[in-house]
């Protein structure tokens, strides 16, 4: 499964539609994120770009220019003082509101995502394309993109407002100066072209940058440290690293001229023409027409700065928004996703039987069927072993029984009723499962076992289960025993367990539960022989008189089962009890003989063969 996230992709998405979608989502979660930014930024930009830079300057300069009254001048100052203080308080109040709201929005959006994520089909996680999109959608949360989008939109609003005020002021001085400002509007277009070129350049460099990051990770991670010291893989890493750098340099060179031209044209329109034009025209007016005042001239020069800054801001925001839109497109399709595994209405009751009738299943991207026309029946109290080599379809069968996937053909009946008619959660809770890729959580040991907040009674139950799974030996050595939080991730007195101990804790979940049917998928893979043996005995004990489905490629575990199902390439090639299968001399007996041979060899039988 790919873990990387492609940051750039040449996909066209409707920017406006997605931005509106994002804003609606944020407003729904907490309206103060957006409002706070609008208040804060408008107050800030309005003050900096208009009040301070232009209105203030204009008023005072006019007073000085016309040799006005000092008292009137002071009156203006006081007026500005009051107005500025109010704007300043508004600005920081707005920022305060949005900074707090951003964390609230994160929490609300996350809760929405969690609910949706849990309803996703497992198939989604196994489909690289979907998973990639899903990761990009979750990036909105981890990287705070929702905050960026609100900020950008608010900044566009604030800058537009300041822009209009500045233009109005210039018009009142002399509309001719607007002529020199017209080129600034083109800057908007040029900057968009430029950022598109930068984007394409970065897109071309993505692969090389991914190589660079990979090399860095590989060199520093402990996982690779031994290989790096005992082999020459380091040379391979350096070779790739250098190649990636060289490739990047070629790309950077190729885009150099284009970007230089864009930058120059942008400067030409945003600085040269307006500034020089204004100076020249003002000089002309001064000298030949004497119609321009000093204050008018200064204000126009300041305005050019304000307008340039506002325009560049807005251009940057648009560019960023179009990138954010891509992420929200993914979030939207994530929320809109309809699970294919549809809930039924019935509650799964006391287990009586489980029957597969001619079921077939093919993974969406696979070419061959993983399960090919299988039928079997398991009744209450039976122990069934499903065996076969890697890739025979054992784990897929489990996924079908638990409705992680639905069968393509045939049906699976629980107590004689198609499993699709039950509520998914109720069906899954009827099974107690131990997976090969077990996981524990950073909550207390007891909570890991009970999977809920623990009462005293729960803790006793959990403790009993931990004793049965063999984990208690270790857990009781902790100061807080079963109340100890697993992993040291964020709890200083948390406990780090070894692979085997972790597996014992997750197996305790099974012992603690009042289950109908147990499904054990290679539950002993991380254990040493003695621990494996004990675990197996305890499982047999705990599941006595219960229904158990045991998945394994170690045939030794099959011997005690009431029924053995041998899978190969998605088909049942044999089934029956251990003695009957051994007698029939089919595939099972062959496999068994092969595995047993290593243990059953009598002295001196092959010893000399290899020499």
């Amino acid at each position: 499964m790919p873990r990387y996230i492609k940051l750039h992709e040449d996909v066209k998405v409707p920017v406006l539609k997605n931005v509106v979608y994002a804003l609606k989502l944020c407003l729904k979660a907490d309206k103060w994120l957006m409002l706070g930014y609008i208040i804060g930024l408008t107050a800030e930009q309005f003050f900096a770009l208009f009040i301070q830079n232009i209105l203030f300057l204009k008023t005072l300069l006019t007073a000085i220019d016309t040799h006005g009254d000092f008292k009137a001048y002071v009156k203006y100052l006081v007026l500005f003082l009051i107005c500025s203080v109010i704007l300043n308080i508004l600005e920081w109040w707005g920022y305060y509101m949005s900074h707090v709201a951003t964390k609230k929005v994160l929490q609300k959006l996350n809760n929405m995502v969690f609910e949706k994520a849990v309803s996703l089909d497992i198939s989604c996680y196994e489909d690289p394309a979907f998973y990639d999109k899903y990761q990009r959608a979750t990036n909105i949360m981890s990287s705070g993109y929702f905050d960026i989008i609100c900020y950008d939109v608010a900044l566009i609003v604030a800058d537009t407002l300041a822009f209009i005020c500045v233009v109005a002021t210039i018009t009142s001085i002399n509309p001719v100066y607007l002529l020199f400002l017209v080129p600034v509007l083109f800057v908007f277009a040029i900057e968009l072209y430029k950022s598109r070129a930068v984007y394409r350049r970065d897109l071309e460099m993505t692969k090389n940058n991914r190589i660079k990051a990979y090399i860095q990770r590989t060199v520093f991670l402990k996982d690779y440290s031994k290989d790096i010291r005992t082999s020459n893989i380091f040379l391979v890493l350096m070779k790739r690293f250098e190649a990636a750098i060289k490739a990047n340099i070629v790309i950077l060179r190729r885009y150099g001229l284009k970007l230089f031209v864009y930058s120059m044209v942008s400067s030409l329109f945003s600085e040269f023409i307006p500034i020089i034009g204004t100076y020249a025209y003002a000089g002309y007016e001064f000298v030949f027409k004497s119609s321009l005042t000093v204050s008018g001239f200064s204000v126009v020069i300041s305005s050019i700065n304000s307008i340039k800054n506002a325009t560049l801001d807005i251009a940057e925001c648009f560019d960023e928004l179009s990138q954010m839109a891509l992420f929200f497109e993914n979030l939207r399709s994530f929320f809109d996703y309809e699970p294919k595994i549809v809930d039924g209405t019935k509650e799964a009751g006391e287990f009586e039987s489980l029957e597969a009738k001619n079921i077939s299943f093919k993974y969406p991207t696979a070419e061959v069927k993983s399960i090919d026309n299988i039928s079997f029946k398991i009744t209450k109290g039976e122990t069934v072993a499903v065996v076969g080599i890697n890739g025979a379809g054992k784990s897929t069968l489990v996924k079908l029984l638990l409705r992680f996937y639905d069968v393509d053909e045939g049906e699976i009946l629980y107590n004689g009723v198609n499993i699709k008619e039950y509520k998914v959660e109720s069906l899954r809770m009827a099974f107690a499962t131990v997976f090969q890729d077990y996981k524990n959580f950073a909550v207390s040991v007891y909570e890991n076992v009970m999977c809920r907040e623990c009462s005293e009674e729960d803790k006793q139950k959990a403790k009993k289960a931990l004793i049965q799974s063999g984990a208690w030996e270790k857990i009781k050595t902790f100061k807080k025993e079963g109340d100890t939080v697993l992993t040291r991730e964020f709890e200083e007195d948390g406990a780090g367990l070894s692979g085997g101990e972790n597996q014992k804790v997750s197996t305790a979940r099974l012992f603690a539960r009042d289950f109908q049917v147990a499904i054990l998928d290679e539950p002993s893979s991380a254990l040493d022989p003695v621990a494996e043996y004990k675990m197996y005995e305890n499982l047999v004990e705990a599941t006595k008189e219960k229904t158990v489905i045991y998945i394994s490629h170690r045939l030794s575990s099959a011997v005690l089962s009431d029924k053995i199902i041998v899978l190969d390439k998605g088909r049942i090639v044999e089934s029956g009890t251990h003695p009957s299968l051994m007698q029939s001399g089919g595939e099972y007996s062959e496999m068994f003989a092969l595995q047993a041979s290593s243990y059953n060899r009598k002295e001196g039988e092959y010893e000399r063969e290899s020499e």
Partner: protein, 612 residues
């Protein structure tokens, strides 16, 4: 706390902040002088013209006009401004697009290569020390960001000093009192700026702490690994509750800090920009212009524009830049320490490599992991003859992997010695010694390179031998591009993802490929199904005929073929001998073997054993 951690503490205040900054700037200058100088100039070209024009340019023109100068003087001034503007921009953009971007890429390469080479020489023990790991490796991982930030910071610092001096002296010539008012209003509020800096730092630290918790629960719902577990055992409500607890803490923390931070910002801005520059300063200017008639309109504009720039520069130079510098200096300190750190595993006098296996003798070997009190290996004695196949078995944590780590000199023994061909392995160079071994580890890794590079773990693999090695390890998957196929999807969408069993076969092929006298295989068959395991055992013995092989296994079925089996318990070798000898001895090995074998005995025997 281990000795290493103490060293780190002691060195923490090793170099002063300026020393660290200068060290790094010098380093960058050595690696890429053009980039460092060019960057400074480019920055000045970017800042100075606009700043100067807004202060002097305007004043000059206004004063010229007021004094009734002729058109030629004004237009000459405009022409000069135009030339400066166009020239500076043109140079800056040329430099950026044609030199800086590529030079940065090259600098990144040179800097990181040094780091990587140092990382390769680190003792493995450094990775076991979490403090070392967090302190050094993680900081260095973000070094490229830090370098860019430092460069930006340094050049802004220099640029701002120059601009502060220039603008201040211009204002000084206009009216020293103005300059005084400006600088006074900035300095009065410096303590608040510093307070804001502290609060921001505190907020970031606390935020990181609370976020670590909420991010963890967030990850559980985002990641594929947890998907099945979350669906199957009804733990969802508990996890969501824990997330919300943590997220609420984050909100509260944010509220607590931002309430103070926004208030201080508000006070600071009101004080400097509003009260200082928009009230007191213009009050004074207005008084001069309107009452005393000692100030021109041009002076008024220049002072007013200059004030904002001085405020910005002073604040930057005294608070923000210093705070950022001290943060960067800490990073550089780590960088320096990392490069200066010494390996304990040292080269011996003479590099020795050879093809034929020699006798390996382990004498009274003991080993304690740094930071542990209990020794992991206690007084081990073992002689391995050339071409022997030795199996190490025992419970988890018995010390099997540690012993192989010592053979490879990934660690050095605490006591005793390892002697190969009569010479202590410490007499050989580290790289020479390690080149004698082919090692496949339990946690073998697949690299996002071609299959052949994955087998050879070296540049320019010998294709014929790669194919041969893959054949021996039983790798039979047909790939479109054969051994040139790229593995993993890390950066190749066409990359092939191998299953656990196939990956392991690739890892085992490495041992067959490497032309060397000794092979170490840790749990070579853990991911394989029984048939593949059986085939592998056969192939392994055949292909490793010309090597001494030491392998570790949990599955005792694989150990039967070994010439000798060492049973380890609690850091000691408790039994040693061939399978038959150990079975006869009826000790720990026999017990373990019987436990595993029991289930394979035929059903009648099983019935018997149940009755016991």
């Amino acid at each position: 706390m281990s000795a290493k951690a103490n060293d780190i503490k002691k060195n923490k205040s090793g170099h002063s902040m300026p020393s660290n900054i200068f060290y790094f700037v010098r380093l960058l200058f050595r690696l890429s002088p053009g980039l460092v100088i060019g960057d400074f100039i480019m920055d000045l070209l970017q800042i100075m013209p606009t700043r100067l024009i807004s202060v002097i340019g305007i004043k000059y023109i206004i004063d010229s006009v007021s004094s009734g100068a002729g058109a030629d003087r004004i237009f000459k001034a405009v022409a000069i401004i135009a030339a400066i503007l166009v020239g500076s921009r043109c140079l800056a953009w040329l430099f950026r697009e044609f030199y800086r971007n590529t030079a940065r890429e090259r600098l990144y390469f040179l800097l990181n290569k040094t780091l990587y080479e140092k990382a390769r020489e680190l003792d493995l023990e450094s990775y076991d020390n979490p403090e070392f790991y967090n302190n050094f490796i993680l900081t260095i991982e973000s070094s490229s960001d830090n370098i860019q930030n430092l460069m930006v910071l340094v050049k802004h610092y220099v640029g701002d000093i120059i601009s502060l001096i220039t603008i201040s002296s211009i204002l000084f010539t206009i009216d020293p009192w103005c300059l005084l008012i400006i600088i006074a209003s900035v300095i009065i509020f410096l303590p608040i700026s510093r307070k804001i800096g502290d609060l921001q730092m505190g907020r970031r630290t606390d935020n990181a702490k609370f976020h670590r918790r909420s991010d963890y629960f967030q990850r559980i719902f985002y990641l594929q690994e947890y998907a099945k577990e979350v669906r199957m055992n009804g733990i969802k409500p508990l996890l969501i509750e824990r997330y919300n607890d943590a997220a609420t803490d984050v909100v509260t923390n944010q509220q607590k800090y931002w309430k103070k931070i926004s208030t201080y910002y508000c006070i600071q801005e009101t004080g400097i920009h509003i009260l200082g520059f928009m009230f007191i300063l213009p009050l004074y200017l207005g008084y001069c212009a309107l009452v005393k008639h000692s100030l021109s309109a041009g002076d008024f504009v220049a002072t007013f524009n200059g004030a904002t720039q001085i405020a910005w520069s002073v604040n930057f130079l005294t608070v923000w830049a210093l705070a950022n510098f001290s943060e960067r200096a800490k990073m550089i300190e780590k960088y320096r320490q990392f490069l200066a750190s010494d390996s304990k595993i040292r080269d011996g006098a003479e590099k020795r490599t050879y093809r034929e296996p020699k006798e390996i003798k382990i004498k009274n070997l003991s080993f304690t992991y740094p930071g542990n009190e209990e020794p992991t290996l206690k007084n081990i004695n073992l002689t391995i003859k050339p071409y022997e196949k030795i199996a190490l078995v025992g419970y988890n944590g018995a010390g099997k992997s540690t012993l192989t780590n010592l053979l490879l000199r990934l660690y050095d023994v605490t006591d005793g010695e390892i002697i190969i061909d009569g010479k202590n392995i410490k007499d050989n160079t580290v790289s020479g010694h390690r080149s004698l071994f082919a090692a496949v580890f339990q946690d073998f890794q697949t690299y996002a390179f071609s299959l052949k590079e994955n087998v050879a773990l070296d540049v320019d693999p010998n294709e014929a031998r790669v194919k041969e090695a893959l054949k021996h390890s039983g790798f039979s998957k047909q790939l479109k591009n054969g051994i040139d196929t790229e593995l993993l999807r890390e950066f190749d969408d066409e990359g092939v993802m191998l299953s656990g069993g196939e990956s392991q076969k690739v890892a085992i092929a490495r041992a067959f490929y490497k032309d060397c006298p000794y092979a170490i295989l840790d749990e070579p068959s853990a991911n394989l199904d029984p048939i593949a395991e059986y085939n592998l055992n056969q192939a392994m013995m055949e292909a490793a005929e010309n090597k001494t092989v030491i392998f570790i296994s949990h599955r005792l079925s694989t150990t039967i073929n070994a010439d000798r089996i060492c049973v380890m318990e609690d850091g000691r070798i408790i039994e040693i001998g061939s399978h038959d000898e150990l079975m006869k001895m009826n000790g720990t090995y026999a017990h373990m073997f019987n436990l595993q074998a029991e289930k394979y005995k035929n059903t009648t025997e099983k019935g018997d054993s149940n009755n016991e």
